[in-house]
């Protein structure tokens, strides 16, 4: 499977876990040592370090 499809599948599973209120399983989507970052294309383009998360 291409990386794009695998990422899409991960995103879908992540969202479905929240949508179906299986919140106890939600932390399993994260590894112990990670940096979780959400930003916008605009901030990325400007080289701004602050993300939405």
């Amino acid at each position: 499977m291409s990386i794009l499809l695998r990422v899409a599948e991960l995103n879908a599973a992540y969202a479905a876990t929240i949508d179906t209120d299986r919140l106890e399983s939600w932390p399993d989507f994260f590894v112990e040592d990670c940096l979780y970052k959400i930003t916008s294309a605009d901030n990325h383009k400007r080289g701004h370090s602050a993300g939405v998360v």
């Binding site: 959400i38 930003t39 916008s40 605009d42 901030n43 701004h48 370090s49 602050a50 993300g51 939405v52 998360v53």
Partner: protein, 265 residues
């Protein structure tokens, strides 16, 4: 259009009668601009737009309502970042339209005043306490400072995160809220990282700001069903003066009194 700058921030007015910005906001509000921006070179570290499903004036109220922070925001109250039992106060500018809400660092280890409050859950713990790892950058123990300027501007410092917010009406029931996060140009890498961590409290997905982003929509939907009705709750009277407590709606009333003087409504 006349424009002027204050510590590099650009303010504009279409009126010939608007006084100089320093007089418009008054000396006490000006002092809080100086506290954060005076003599410092700032650096923008990110910006976002958030769409609010409510009239712009509800957000203007939200920024001035120093009473709601520890009642609505579970994160603030639970982790003792902002409780009314902490020291602090509210400043309202002479024209009513500008304000400062300040919260001091907590002093009591065990605060009983909030026991049983809906916005407090003692069972909640953070795995990564670096979110609370605040460093006092000013010698005044103020941990949380929200400055508003009539009609649509906010300057804030929460823990070590600093931001400017401004909002514009997009429709009667729709508002665009812009966030600009900034640090100081001479931040150490550690301080910059700390600011980025503390920014998780604000913004469209912030542990605290998320609630401000939807609560205006609740009110908007509520009042839509009662167009012909009116109700006023005058908490603590009708004054618009500065107070040594944040359990007050004086800044909200100040906003509306200036708005009424300007619009003649």
């Amino acid at each position: 259009l006349r424009v002027t700058t204050l510590h590099g921030l650009v303010f504009g007015t279409f009126s010939d009668e608007t006084p100089a910005i320093e007089n418009f906001i008054g000396p006490e509000v000006l002092a809080r601009f100086d506290r954060i921006l005076g003599g410092r070179k700032i650096e923008i570290i990110g910006r976002f737009v958030e769409v609010l499903p409510n009239n712009w004036k509800m957000y203007a109220e939200n920024a001035r309502d120093s009473y709601h922070a520890s009642l609505l925001h579970l994160f603030f109250a639970t982790f003792k970042l902002n409780r009314l039992s902490q020291g602090g106060g509210l400043v309202v500018s002479p024209n009513g339209g500008c304000s400062v809400s300040e919260t001091l660092a907590p002093t009591q280890a065990d605060d009983e005043a909030y026991a049983g409050m809906r916005s407090v859950d003692e069972d909640y713990k953070l795995k990564d306490m670096r979110l609370m790892d605040v460093v006092d950058e000013h010698p005044d123990r103020i941990r949380h400072q929200i400055v508003t300027v009539f009609p649509n501007f906010v300057l804030q410092k929460t823990q070590n995160a600093m931001a400017i917010r401004f909002f514009t009406p997009n429709a009667v029931d729709r508002t665009h809220l812009e966030w600009i996060y900034f640090g100081y140009a001479d931040d150490t890498p550690e301080m910059r990282k700390r600011r980025l961590r503390h920014l998780n409290l604000g913004g469209p997905a912030g542990f605290v700001s998320m609630e401000d982003g939807c609560v205006g929509g609740f009110v908007e939907r509520g009042i839509a069903t009662a167009e012909a009705e009116s109700a006023i709750v005058g908490m603590g009277g009708g004054g618009v003066e500065s107070q040594a407590t944040r359990a007050t709606e004086a800044a909200v009333r100040g906003f509306w009194s200036l708005w009424r003087r300007m619009t003649g409504l």
